[in-house]
């Protein structure tokens, strides 16, 4: 890896960290469990690395490791998003019919 590649990668890392801090500190405790499963699904993006390892045919060991990694990440991506959706669908506002007591969280 060249110095330039490393530096630009570090830039991306630092900015993503900063942005992540800003975005995630605004998530209310109410949604902390969905947040965890959502970030989990998103970090399943390591799938893209695993896909190349599994398909590039470097050697048998790499292919086996790559295949296992694809399996693991795909489980996380699909499972993570499905479960996050399922959870978020459960969070409902108070039905309109009832008395409008209680402000939102």
């Amino acid at each position: 890896m060249s110095a330039e590649t490393l530096i630009s990668a570090l830039y991306v890392f630092a900015l993503a960290a900063f942005l992540g801090y800003l975005v995630i500190s605004r998530v209310p405790p109410l949604l902390h469990t969905p947040l965890m499963s959502a970030t989990n699904a998103i970090s399943g993006i390591s799938l893209v690395g695993s896909i190349v390892t599994a398909g590039a045919d470097y050697n048998t060991v790499s292919t086996i490791l790559g295949f296992t990694a694809v399996f693991c990440s795909a489980t996380n991506v699909v499972g993570g998003f499905v479960i996050t959706d399922r959870m978020l669908r459960m969070f409902k506002r108070k039905p309109a019919g009832q008395k409008a007591e209680g402000k939102k969280q």
Binding site: I45, G49, I51, G55, Q105
Partner: protein
């Protein structure tokens, strides 16, 4: 790689892949931004899902890919397992599922790292070696640590902390050895046996790290493992020079980090104390021996009358509600009370349950509107005007010792001040102490009445009794 493609097609493909990654990165961030409110969260997640799809489609165009057999097989099998887990895992098992997915994510990162090292025969430049080292170490220790956390949460292994003499020193020595090998590999590259030794030690360290941590501290551990899993992904991004991986991994890593800081703050403890303090072990519980009077057991019908004629009732759920699967019964009781004109609210402590936000999800599953769920700071001022506070399987988060007794092991931990309510009812399985082994003075106060038994059954009987009151 055979040069089957013309150079212009190569360029087009590269652009397509990189742009799909850029789009995915933007959509991920928008998706997480949506989580700042329940109303926008669903749409946000759909954006993130679309981003993921784009990134995967883009990757399939990658020039280095020769065969698709293993990719498709892995994708299909993984998706099926993920779908099955996603659809059928009950909400009460959410902490276990999350622990398992941390293990999967971290394992995938570790494997990609090992493969990268292996295919170059260990001859990688210093910077790449540094990135691979981080990736494999974080990935490996998160894998085994999360698996152990899973086993503890699932009840396969006892949840109590496992400690022995010299544990911290041994763990530190092991960690130092692992890092030592890592540094050596950066300076003198190329040794496969040493590399595998490093990976093996990191796998071992994950187990040792989680072993001494009690089930009550799981919210912090879960967040921390979340953070490590994310950082392992980010390290993968450095190894492969893949920016979307760096971004997504860093977001995940920081999310876990922020959550663990919040959880620690909610317990007034430092991270080191959680990781190395073995809280809830015998050493602490022996201390609070003295007793302050009698616990007063109350009749179900008395409580039903109290509830039925109250103006305001606040429910305070804890992990006991999850184990008893009592969330639907709570909701039923709340409905019955609301029909009688009683104002019902829920007070949620940040570390109630086994993962951040655990109680909120369970109550949402039982159709409790999120507008009735109140955070600690919001609900505490309301307790003096609360007629009945109903504590359901919670203990430490309502322990007044945290506020009143500076000598208590949990001194300074913010609590839900249910003891300020006019009357308190505690639903508890038996007369034993809570998980941490601490005595809870709340149970001995004059305002407190104890209702023993299975929370779900008690609540169901309360519903009937209130209807007749």
């Amino acid at each position: 790689m055979p040069p089957l493609l013309s150079s212009s097609e190569t360029t087009v493909r590269t652009y397509f892949i990189e742009l799909s990654y850029l789009l995915a990165s933007i959509l991920f961030i928008l998706g997480l931004k949506g989580l700042s409110h329940p109303e926008t969260a669903k749409r946000g997640m759909h954006l993130a899902e679309f981003g993921m799809l784009m990134a995967i489609v883009g990757t399939l165009m990658h020039l280095e890919i020769i065969t698709y057999t293993w990719i498709i097989l892995g994708l299909v099998l993984g998706s099926l397992v993920g779908l099955a887990m996603g659809l059928w895992v009950p909400m009460t098992a959410m902490p276990q599922r999350t622990a398992l997915s941390h293990a999967f994510g971290a394992f995938a990162a570790a494997l990609v790292g090992i493969s990268e090292f292996y295919r170059h025969g260990g001859h990688v430049d210093k910077v790449t070696m540094g990135a691979i080292g981080f990736e494999v170490m974080l990935g490996a220790l998160t894998t085994t640590g999360s698996l152990l956390a899973f086993a503890k949460l699932q009840g396969l292994v006892r949840g109590t902390p496992l400690t022995y003499k010299g544990q911290n020193i041994f763990n530190m020595a092991l960690l130092a050895t692992t890092i030592g090998i890592f540094v050596y590999l950066i300076i003198v590259p190329g040794s496969l046996p040493l590399f595998f030794a490093m990976a093996g030690l990191a796998f071992l360290f994950g187990i040792l790290l989680v072993m001494p941590i009690g089930a009550a501290d799981m919210p912090v551990v879960m967040s921390l493992l979340n953070s490590y899993a994310g950082l392992a992904s980010a390290a993968t991004g450095f190894v492969l020079s893949n920016k979307v991986l760096i971004i997504a991994g860093t977001l995940d890593g920081f999310s876990g980090f922020i959550l663990s800081v919040l959880m620690c703050r909610a317990m007034n403890r430092s991270m080191t104390n959680v990781l190395f303090g073995a809280f809830g072990s015998a050493a602490i519980s022996g201390k609070a021996g003295e007793q302050q009077g009698e616990m007063r057991e109350v009749g179900l019908d008395d409580i039903a009358v109290q509830l039925a004629y109250a103006n305001k009732v606040v429910f305070v759920p804890g992990y006991g509600m999850a184990t008893a699967q009592a969330q639907h019964a709570v909701r039923e009781l709340a409905d019955t009370l609301e029909k009688r004109g009683v104002t019902v609210k829920y007070g949620i402590h940040p570390v109630a349950g086994r993962m951040p936000g655990h109680m909120n999800v369970l109550l949402a599953e039982a159709n409790v509107p999120y507008s009735s769920l109140y955070e600690l700071e919001q609900i505490n001022p309301e307790f003096p005007t609360t007629d009945v506070a109903v504590v359901i399987g919670a203990n430490d988060v309502v322990n007044p010792d945290a506020r009143d007794n500076p000598g208590s092991p949990i001194a300074g931990m913010p609590i839900l001040e249910v003891d300020r309510a006019k009357s308190v009812v505690v639903l508890k399985r038996g007369q034993g102490k809570g998980f941490s082994g601490l005595e809870n003075p709340l149970f001995f106060k004059d305002v407190t009445g104890m209702l023993y038994g299975d929370a779900k059954e008690t609540l169901t009987r309360l519903v009937q009794a209130v209807q007749q009151a």
